[in-house]
Symmetry: C2
Subunit: 356 residues, 2 copies
């Protein structure tokens, strides 16, 4: 591989600089992404075409010297493959035609075969890996069992997840049944991505932070742990895993003991406190506030340095945002960010050379 | 006062049981509230009528043996009094006709006189206090300087607070100017409530949890601290203050040193970890997940016991939800909750009697 800085940082090995990639880096802030999406006709058509998914996955790498590619796909491919009927209403978030509201539907829920119902994703992974030609590693991903369940029960995004929470408190047995199926489905899905060429995987637990302290362990982390325990290694080489819970700052110690190699930090978490809490067990990824990219370039650079300083020069930091990049983000801000992280972190990690 | 359990718990004195009140306890889950609101014609007409505000403030106390009344008012009365033009579009959250987007408007921002522009609130406090006739204490409240600024800059609620965050990163000087005015305005507003009869006050920092770790201290806590330092004591008696930051679980230690008497905990925070982090400096209020009230009564009671056990029997716990009560909450769930908290906490706090 030409650039394996990300994989070394995830293994907490020394690197010349801090690797950087951005959650949702192939996305609507890029004019070329919007052009491809327009050609595809819809977001789902784009996500379901391996050729177009490959095209947009590579777009940010043409613009910026990023240290990883991440599979372009939707977070809800798995429940869609389970038959819930994913669709996007114009200008709105994802929705399911058949949300899980009755016991019979929940009992009937089955683990999809990634080689069949999710073949378009696995084909995309294979094609992206080939197109990358070893330039940078490819990260595969899935929603966490809990985050998938949120949408599956609610039928859409929500401010308060009332249907989900009602099931959680009134019929926890039904939610556990969904989560068990999801954990097996996510394990199979990520393993299929690894077999097709993903060199690292990330679990997005976008809504775990909506749970109570006790609920997070019971309904989210317990099932992510099962997934992590079931991940395959490829040809003897460890495929590192990154676990990200938005709003999970209070649970880092438990997350670090979950079997993951790295923890994604949202922008509210103090990197120094996070490192203290997890010790040397895992790498840390994050955590610039995505809104900082709305500032002028010089301020973006200053914020990047602040985040790098907060993580320090010890091995095991992967620079990222604390959440996905916003569609309205100026492209120039991203260029300034990537440049500053590269330049400044190189100086941080080679103090002797800087002084010479 | 007939029942001063809340004030004693806020002072971390021993009490016979754990006092309970609920954020937004005078609200849409109550049929009698909806009837009064319908009579008023609109939410704002209700909030701006001292007589009707008094009526709805007392309604939950007629149904449930709660240990406090909280002033019925809107969180955005202060910016409305500054001339921003608060209104509610049908079925939507609050909006401002004139959000703060240009420097001239921000420079012109002035602290309102509570006795003039906010007289309807101060009159309501006086009337409620009289109507309560010493039954339970009356809590006054305000939005935090930062949370008010969020709405003032954005012009409405938001998922990402993009206008606010853009100002924060690109023109922090302008945001600091707004926050300085807000801190003085909130101080005057809460002092006017105290003079009119509020026996405790609460600062709602609903959106502080959207800030980065560094940003929370700079843009939210620093200004809440100024408010807390400026609060009057009434006739030599301490008027306790409660500071609540939704999503502020990582910052409890700093909050405990802010000058407040108690910290409100959202439902994601572990009460035992919170107590460890703040020591004996402050009382703690919270933190049942409001969604737990969608469960059957027996499960509501079990969750109430779980929260009480997590806080323990040491003095200084005020039972509450981790966020405002949802409009769809069944009234019977609230009755079960209040009864269980009273009964179970009485047993917890008098183990000798229980055994006898």
């Amino acid at each position: 591989m030409t650039n394996d800085t990300l994989l070394r940082a995830l293994a907490r090995e020394a690197t010349d600089y801090t690797p950087i990639w951005l959650m949702r880096q192939a996305g609507r802030y890029l004019p070329e992404y919007n052009a491809t999406r327009a050609r595809a006709g819809s977001f789902l058509a784009l996500a379901k075409s391996p050729a177009l998914a490959t095209e947009v996955t590579l777009q940010p790498l043409e613009r910026f010297p990023l240290d990883a590619a991440i599979l372009f796909s939707d977070i809800l491919t798995v429940p869609d493959a389970m038959g819930l009927g994913l669709y996007f209403a114009e200008g709105e978030g994802p929705r399911f035609e058949r949300p899980l509201r009755d016991e019979a539907a929940i009992r009937a829920l089955a683990v999809p075969d990634p080689a069949v119902q999710l073949r378009y994703v696995i084909d995309a992974v294979r094609q992206i890996r080939q197109a990358l030609a070893g330039r940078v590693p490819l990260i595969g991903f899935s929603g966490s069992p809990f985050t998938l369940a949120c949408y599956m029960v609610e039928g859409s995004g929500s401010d308060d997840w009332r249907a989900l929470k009602t099931m959680l408190y009134a019929r926890p047995d039904l939610l556990h049944r969904i989560l068990e199926v999801n954990a097996r489905a996510v394990t199979d899905y990520l393993n299929a991505q690894i077999e097709a060429g993903a060199q690292a995987v990330m679990i997005f637990d976008t809504w775990g932070g909506q749970l109570s302290h006790a609920g997070y362990e019971t309904f989210s982390l317990a099932y992510s742990r099962r997934v992590l325990a079931g991940l395959k290694q490829q040809e003897g080489r460890r495929v590192p895993s990154i676990l990200f819970t938005k709003g999970g700052g209070a649970w880092l110690e438990a997350m670090a003991a979950s079997g993951c190699d790295a923890i994604g930090l949202d922008w509210t978490t103090d990197p120094a406190a996070a490192r203290k809490s997890v010790g040397a067990r895992v790498a840390l990824q994050g955590n610039l506030d995505p809104s900082a990219l709305f500032a002028p370039a010089e301020r973006v650079r200053a914020e990047a340095r602040r985040v790098l300083d907060a993580f320090g020069a010890a091995p095991g930091h992967v620079f990222n945002l604390g959440h996905g990049i916003a569609p309205q983000t100026p492209v120039d801000s991203v260029a300034a960010l990537v440049d500053e992280v590269r330049t400044y972190s190189r100086k941080m990690r080679a103090p002797a050379q800087t002084k010479a």
